[in-house]
C-alpha cells in the first residue's frame, strides 16, 4: 500500500515537472521565432495589407486617397501595357525548362567528375554574386548595336543585330542575360542534391549493364526530384521578381512594351506616373499569380513526396 502511494506520488510529482519543462521549451521556441516573425509581419504582411487597401483607391502619393472600388482592377483588365506585360511574363515562364535543365545537366557533368569540375563550378557561380545592375552594364556594352557581339558577328560575315532595340530579340536577350547571371545558384543546389544519390544503387546499375543516360534518367533524376522541384519553385519566383534591374539598365522596358514585365510596370506606374493606387492593384494581381503558381508547384511536390 505504501509502495503504491509512493509510486502514485512519484508519478504525480514527475508529470507536472515534464509538462512545465515542455511549456518552457515551447515558450523558448516561440521566443526564437519571434524576431523573424516580427520582421515578416512588419515588412511583408503589413505592407501587403496596406497595398491591398491602396489598390482600391486613386492614391497619387500626394493627395488624400479616395476609395474607387474596383476601378483600378477594371483599368488593369483593359490596359494594353499590362496585358502585354502578361504575355511577356508567359514567354518568360515558358523558358523555365531551360532554367532548370541547363544547370541540372552541368551539375551532373561536374558531379561525374569532368576534368576541371571545380573550376567550372566556381566560374558558373561567379555571376550569381554580381548585382543585376553590374551585369546589365556589362551586357549593355556587349549587346549594343556597335558592341562587341555585333563586331564579332560582322567579323564572321554576318549582319549586326539590334539585340536590345528590336522587339523580336530584346526579351530573349534579357532572358539569356538573366539566365547567365543566375543559373549558378541552381547549379550549386543540384550539386548538393546529387551528393545524396546512393552510390550503391549506381554501382549496381552499372554492374547490371545500365548505360550512362539510363542511369541518369532512371536513378539520378528520380532521386533528386524534390530538389528539382524546389529549384523550379525558387526559380519561378525569381523570374517574376528579380528581372527589374536588368530591364532598367538594358532596355528600359522597350522597344515598345516588348520587355515590360509586371514588376517593371509596377515601378513605372508608381515611380514615373505617380499612381501608387494603380501600381498597388497590379502588385496584388502579380502577388495572386505568384501565389497561385507556387501553390500549384508545392502541390505537385507534396504529391510526389507521397509517392
Amino acid at each position: 500500500m505504501t509502495e503504491t502511494v509512493i509510486a502514485k506520488d512519484s508519478k504525480s510529482a514527475a508529470t507536472p515537472r515534464r509538462k512545465s519543462g515542455g511549456h518552457n521549451a515551447e515558450r523558448l521556441a516561440y521566443l526564437f521565432v519571434l524576431p523573424a516573425l516580427a520582421l515578416v509581419v512588419v515588412f511583408r504582411i503589413i505592407p501587403l495589407i496596406w497595398g491591398l487597401g491602396y489598390s482600391f483607391t486613386d492614391y497619387d502619393g500626394m493627395s488624400q486617397p479616395r476609395f474607387v472600388g474596383f476601378d483600378n482592377y477594371i483599368g488593369i483588365a483593359h490596359d494594353p501595357v499590362f496585358l502585354d506585360s502578361l504575355v511577356n511574363m508567359l514567354i518568360l515562364l515558358a523558358t523555365l525548362p531551360i532554367w532548370i535543365g541547363l544547370p541540372l545537366v552541368l551539375a551532373i557533368l561536374i558531379h561525374q567528375g569532368v576534368p576541371g569540375g571545380k573550376i567550372f563550378r566556381a566560374v558558373y557561380f561567379f555571376p550569381a554574386v554580381l548585382s543585376s545592375v553590374i551585369v546589365g552594364a556589362i551586357f549593355n556594352v556587349l549587346l549594343r548595336y556597335d558592341g562587341s557581339f555585333n563586331l564579332f558577328l560582322k567579323a564572321m560575315g554576318f549582319s549586326a543585330v539590334d539585340w536590345l532595340g528590336n522587339s523580336s530579340t530584346a526579351l530573349f536577350s534579357l532572358i539569356a542575360v538573366q539566365l547567365w547571371s543566375t543559373f549558378g545558384m541552381s547549379l550549386l543546389i543540384f550539386i548538393a542534391g546529387l551528393s545524396t544519390v546512393s552510390s550503391e544503387m549506381l554501382e549496381a546499375a552499372k554492374l547490371d549493364g545500365a548505360k550512362l543516360l539510363q542511369m541518369w534518367w532512371h536513378i539520378v533524376i528520380p532521386s533528386i526530384r524534390p530538389i528539382i522541384e524546389f529549384a523550379a519553385v525558387v526559380t519561378t519566383i525569381g523570374m517574376l521578381t528579380s528581372m527589374f534591374g536588368l530591364i532598367y539598365v538594358l532596355t528600359a522596358g522597350g522597344p515598345g512594351t516588348s520587355t515590360i514585365l509586371p514588376e517593371f510596370l509596377i515601378w513605372l506606374e508608381q515611380g514615373k506616373m505617380n499612381r501608387p493606387g494603380y501600381a498597388s492593384a497590379i502588385s496584388m494581381v502579380l502577388f495572386l499569380m505568384m501565389a497561385g503558381l507556387a501553390a500549384i508547384q508545392i502541390r505537385i511536390m507534396s504529391r510526389n513526396a507521397d509517392i
Binding site: G61, A160, P255, G271, K272
Partner: protein, 424 residues
Amino acid sequence: MKTTNRILRAGTMLATALVMTLGVAASAKADTTLTVWDWKSGDPTTTPYYDKVKADFEAAHPGVTVKFVMQPHDQYYTLLGTAIAASQGPDVVLVHGGSQAKERIPAFSKLDDKVADLKARVAGWDEFAGADGSVYAVPISIQGLAVYYNKELYKKAGLDPEVTPKTWAELDAICAKLKAAGTTCFALGNKEGYGADFFYSAAAANALTAEQQAAWTTGDLKWSSPEIKAIVQKWVDTQKDGWYAEGANSTAKFMDEYQSFERSENANTIGLLSDVAHWKEFDEFLEPQNVGVYVLPPVSGGDGKLRMPLAGGIGYAVTKFSPNQDLAAELAKSFAATPAMQVFFESAGAVPSDTAVDTSKVESPSAKVVLGSLSDGAPLLHNNTSTAETEEWHRQSQMLFTGETTVDKAVARLDEVQAQAKKK
C-alpha cells in the same frame, strides 16, 4: 560618510543636469539644417554655383546649414515621390519645369507672396505655375531645344557651314547631301524615348499657332490632328530616309547620343540650351568655331519665322511638409540671386533665368545665337504633355521604328491616353 555620499550624489546629478541643459540649448541654437534634393550639386561644372549659394545663404542666416543631397537623375522622381508620399525628407527640391513640376504641385508650397520681388528680374515662371496661376517654384534656368551641327562635317559634304535650313525641305536636302557623303545626318538615342520627345517638341514649336499650343495643353488638340500627325509621320519618314544610325532604340540619349556627336560620328543633334548636352559641352569637344546651331524648321505650317523653343528649365520648390517654410522659401529664392546665377552661367554654361546676369563676355558663336534668341521663344510642346502621354509616346515612337505599329494606330492609341490623362 553619509553626508559626503549625499553631497557627491547631488553634485553628480547637478553636473549631469547642467551638461544636458547646455547640450540641448546648444543643439537647439545650432542648428536648423535645410536639406535640398537635386541631381546636379555633385556635378563638377555646377559645384561652384552650389558652393556659392550655400556660402551666401549660410553667411546671411547664422545657425542654418544647407545640406545638398544629390540623387541619381534617372531615379529622381521615384525617390521624390517616395519622400512626398511619406511627407518627410527634403525642405527644398529641384524640379523640371512643365509637367514634372505641375503634376507635383499638391506637394509644394505656394510662393507668390514670397517671390514678388523676383518676378521682374527672373524669367520662366509659367512652367512652375499651377492651374490657379500661383507660383510653386523659383526658376533658375531657361531650357530649350536647338539643333547643334558639326561645321567640319558640313564642309566635307560640300555644304556651306554658315547656311542653316529655314524649311523642312532645306533640311531634307542637307541630310540627303550628308548621306551621300557617307555621314549620318542626325545623332539619335531613343532607348528611353527621349529622342522622340525632343523630335516632336522641336518640330512642333514653330508649326503650331499660339491657339494650337494652348489647345494642346488642355487636350483639345489631339495627336491625330493633322498638325501633330504630320510630325509623327516625319518621325517615321526620317528613319526610312536614313537620317539616323542603326540601333537608335538601344542607344541612350544621355549621353551615348551626344558622345557620338562629340566624336564627329554624325553631323547634327537636337540638344539643349542649358546645363547639359549644350553649346558649352559641344564647344569643348569640337572647338567653338566648329559648332553651329539652328532652330529645327517646322514640318508644316508656321509663319516663316523660326523661334527657339524655350521655357523655364529647372527650379526650386519648397515641400509642404518642410518644418521651416519661411527659411526654405528664402533658400529657394537664393538660388536665383544674381551673383550665384552669374557663377551658374560661367561655370556650367547654363542659360540663367536671371535677366540681370552679364552674358556679354561669352565668345562661343553658338552661345551667342542661343542667348540672342531668348527674347522671342516658342513654347516647348513636351512641357505641356502629360506624363502618361509622354510614356506612351516613348513606346509608340520605338514601335514606329521597329515597324510594329503604323502612324494611324500610334496616334489613335495616343489619343486614348491623352483623353484619359486630360479627362476629355
